[in-house]
Amino acid sequence: MTTHAAAVGRAPMPGMEVYNLKLGMWVFLLSEVMFFTGLIGSYIILRFAHPEHFAQPGVVLNVPLTAFNTFILICSSVTMVKAFAAIEQGDQKGLKRWLLATIALGTLFVGVQVVEYTVLASEGFVPMAEAYHAIGRGNPHDGPALGGPLYGATFYTMTGFHGTHVTIGVLCMWFVLWRASKGAYTAQSYGGVEIMGLYWHFVDLVWIILFTIVYLI
């Protein structure tokens, strides 16, 4: 839709200062909020109903690694802001440079997450419920509580969907970068970059919440 920025201009209503793309992105993010509310809400309900399924922070999950990953994502938000600031000044080179930095950081985040998943899976921390009975560990009803089926299921679903959002964000960012290289954005028209930023900051925000409730609490 990015190309539409130019086409659909400002609203006719006096005092209505948000152009369609930006408005549309805000509206879309509202629905995203509800989506993650649903997932996180289910997590909270399941966790309160079956605390024995959920291990203490740091017992199963690698908190330091993820903390580092969180730092990466926050940095990527900063670089995104930089990119936006650059194009506001009409600085094409800066825009491309900072976009590339954001892409790099986003990709790194996903990469780290993939590594995290593989390690956890190799340790037997998986979403499949039956696996917990197979490996004598993790069955909430016997042995050390390293978490039960609900733990794996909720963990992978929530972080997985966030990871998917980051991945999609990175792909869109490549598209924005490609258009930027075509000089599509100027100090006057930078709608594409702005909504890209909105989305990216949202994804970042969601991660900070997830990190807190899934890893730290």
């Binding site: 209503m13 408005l23 549309g24 679903t157």
Partner: protein, 598 residues
């Protein structure tokens, strides 16, 4: 003025970055970005699904009217649906369950919802607020072309091994979470995927509608000058926007339970079956209002217009819509009174549910008051709209019974519920849809529908509709539970056989009489009386443009001076006063031509 100029140019571009040349066929009719074409596409597809859903219902009714008796022509069905016996083909319970499930799913998600939101949302919003098109025309096209594969997947599930989903349209876990409980394996997964895809389609639409209403209104189209149909569709879009993601999340979790073996809803691993119900109804109750609010808006338009009288209490109508949308979020629990949830919660949900009856009451009274001392032109759109009001009253009143928790204990999961939901969704939504299609048909196709056929169709539908669904109240009161393959298994229900047979026969006639509307629809496409710009002497902006409107809709930037329901105003010599007519004391400004107008 300069802003207006600037805005106006942008708005023009919004509507058509393709108006100067005639677009090729595929882009004009298949992959069109014109909101009017997309509206028609939604209409034809969902009317098709409406027929499918109706046929599924008649199959279901056969089993209920003539339990476990060979069905004439049942032989054409695969053995997995109708068992071949010496006497003839007999419906299998698993197929009956699939019918129950798919009838509900298809009617709600693929017929009523796309008709109300997809058809009228696309058709009316830009026209009624004076916009050249949606804010995101391509996203709009995407929304339709996501709905199509979703529908195909849903239908395809009938063909797969194990048959289509059979856990009810609510797909309560754990029944829906594991194939071993139902014998349905791939079918249930297709059901989940299909609805998830449809969810994306609805989201795309909602984002579009909201942005368009907020951003693309013509000068002077203030919030309280927006026609009620658009108001309702706007609020509906907000509900879709916030409710659909919840469903999507739940669907995905259930799909994971089905496929990769998670245990969100599987109690054998401490999953929570009630979690599904809470998630589903947290979406599902707003969904109920998604299915009725636009119908209310359409009825308001038609009633006010055909009564030649301002809608009674425009502001309270708008506020009622908003109130319903808010309250709709805190009443989901009334679907779960008997689910084993804490009785205290039950009470609080009962109170909130009782409260939500009030705005609905307000709207009903306002419609009645609109008719009072009006000048009622009883042509087919008006008849459908009046039927909507009278049947919605019944549906609303029967809702009070199940809102009262003790009474609900008895009637929950009985045919009383079935009667209630059909009085709201068929008597309510569908009659409003008939009204709307008939009313805006000239705007869509430039011709009027066949009045006589419509009136016969209305009469038959109204009579047999009531003969079908009114007795269902009585069945429920006698204790007949819903979704039951063969109620004669219960001794105390066997006396209900005559009534069930009667209902079934009426269903056959009801379904058959729908063909009249189809005939009228297609006949009028070619032979219908040519329509002027404003055949109903209406005030709305959509009636100031040609029928059908060109790309970009408005040759000149419309300027709005008043609300949409100034009928029989002393200010005008006729009995209507279009929103664009400047007040007597103020002369119209020089019209500002838009590019395509020039």
């Amino acid at each position: 003025m300069s802003t207006t100029q600037h805005d106006m140019v942008n708005r023009a571009e919004a509507g058509g970055h393709h108006d100067h040349h005639e677009p090729p066929f595929i882009r004009k009719y298949i992959f069109s970005t014109d909101h009017k074409t997309i509206a028609k596409q939604f209409m034809f597809v969902s009317l098709f699904f409406l027929v499918v859903g109706g046929l599924l219902a008649t199959l279901m009714r056969w089993q209920l009217g003539f339990p476990s008796q060979p069905m004439p022509g049942g032989g054409v069905f695969p053995d997995a649906m109708m068992a071949p016996t010496p006497g003839g083909a007999i419906m299998l319970p698993e197929f009956y369950n699939s019918l129950v499930t798919m009838h509900g799913t298809i009617m709600i998600f693929f017929a009523i919802m796309p008709l109300l939101v997809g058809l009228f949302g696309n058709l009316l919003i830009p026209l009624q607020i004076g916009a050249p098109d949606m804010a995101f025309p391509r996203l709009n096209m995407a929304s339709f072309w996501l709905a199509v594969p979703a529908g195909i997947l849903m239908l395809a599930s009938f063909a797969v091994e194990g048959g289509a989903a059979g856990a009810g349209w609510t797909s309560y876990a754990p029944l829906s979470a594991s194939g071993e409980y139902t014998g349905v394996y791939l079918g249930q997964q297709l059901w989940l995927v299909s609805l998830a895809v449809l969810g994306f389609s609805s989201l795309a639409g909602a984002v579009n509608y909201i942005s368009t209403v907020i951003n693309m209104r013509a000068p002077g189209m203030t919030w309280f000058r927006i026609p009620l149909a658009t108001w309702a569709l706007f609020i509906t879009a907000v509900l879709v926007l916030l409710a659909m993601p919840i469903l999507a999340g739940a669907l995905i979790m259930l799909l994971f339970d089905q496929t990769i073996g998670t245990a969100f809803f599987l109690p054998e691993f401490d999953g929570e079956p009630l979690l599904w119900q809470h998630l589903f109804w947290f979406f599902g109750h707003p969904e109920v209002y998604i299915l009725i609010l636009p119908a209310m808006g359409i009825a308001s338009e038609v009633i006010s217009n055909r009564a030649r009288k301002p809608i009674f209490g425009y502001h309270s109508m708008v506020l009622a819509i908003i109130a319903i949308a808010f309250l709709g979020w805190i009443v989901w629990g009334h679907h779960m009174f008997q689910s084993g949830m804490n009785p205290m919660l039950g009470t609080s949900f009962m109170i909130s549910t009782m409260a939500i009856a009030v705005p609905s009451a307000i709207k009903t009274f306002n419609w009645l008051a609109t008719l009072w001392k009006g000048d009622l032109h009883l042509d087919s759109p008006m008849l459908y709209a009046i039927a909507f009001v009278s049947l919605f009253i019944i549906g609303g009143l029967s809702g009070v019974y199940m809102a009262s928790t003790p009474v609900d204990v008895y009637i929950h999961d009985t045919y009383f519920i079935v009667a209630h939901i059909h009085y709201v969704l068929f008597g309510g939504s569908l009659f409003a849809i008939f009204a709307g299609i008939t009313f805006w048909y000239p705007k869509m196709f430039g011709r009027l529908m066949n009045e006589r056929l419509n009136k016969i169709h209305f009469l038959l539908t109204f009579v047999f509709y009531n003969l079908v669904f009114w007795p269902m109240h009585n069945l429920g009161l006698q204790g007949m539970m819903r979704r039951i393959y063969d109620f004669t298994q219960y001794e105390y229900l066997q006396p209900l056989q005559p009534m069930n047979r009667f209902i079934t026969i009426c269903v056959f006639i009801l379904v058959a009489s729908q063909s009249l509307y189809a005939i009228s629809f297609f006949w009028s496409l070619f032979k219908g009386e040519k329509a002027t710009n404003n055949p109903w002497n209406s005030n709305g902006l959509e009636w100031t443009v040609p029928s059908p409107p060109p790309h970009g809709n408005f040759a000149e930037m419309p300027v709005v001076y008043r609300g949409p329901y100034e009928y029989s105003s002393p200010e005008s010599d006729t009995d209507f006063l279009p929103q664009t007519t400047p007040p007597r004391d103020r002369p119209a400004p020089a019209p500002v031509p838009t590019p395509q107008g020039a």
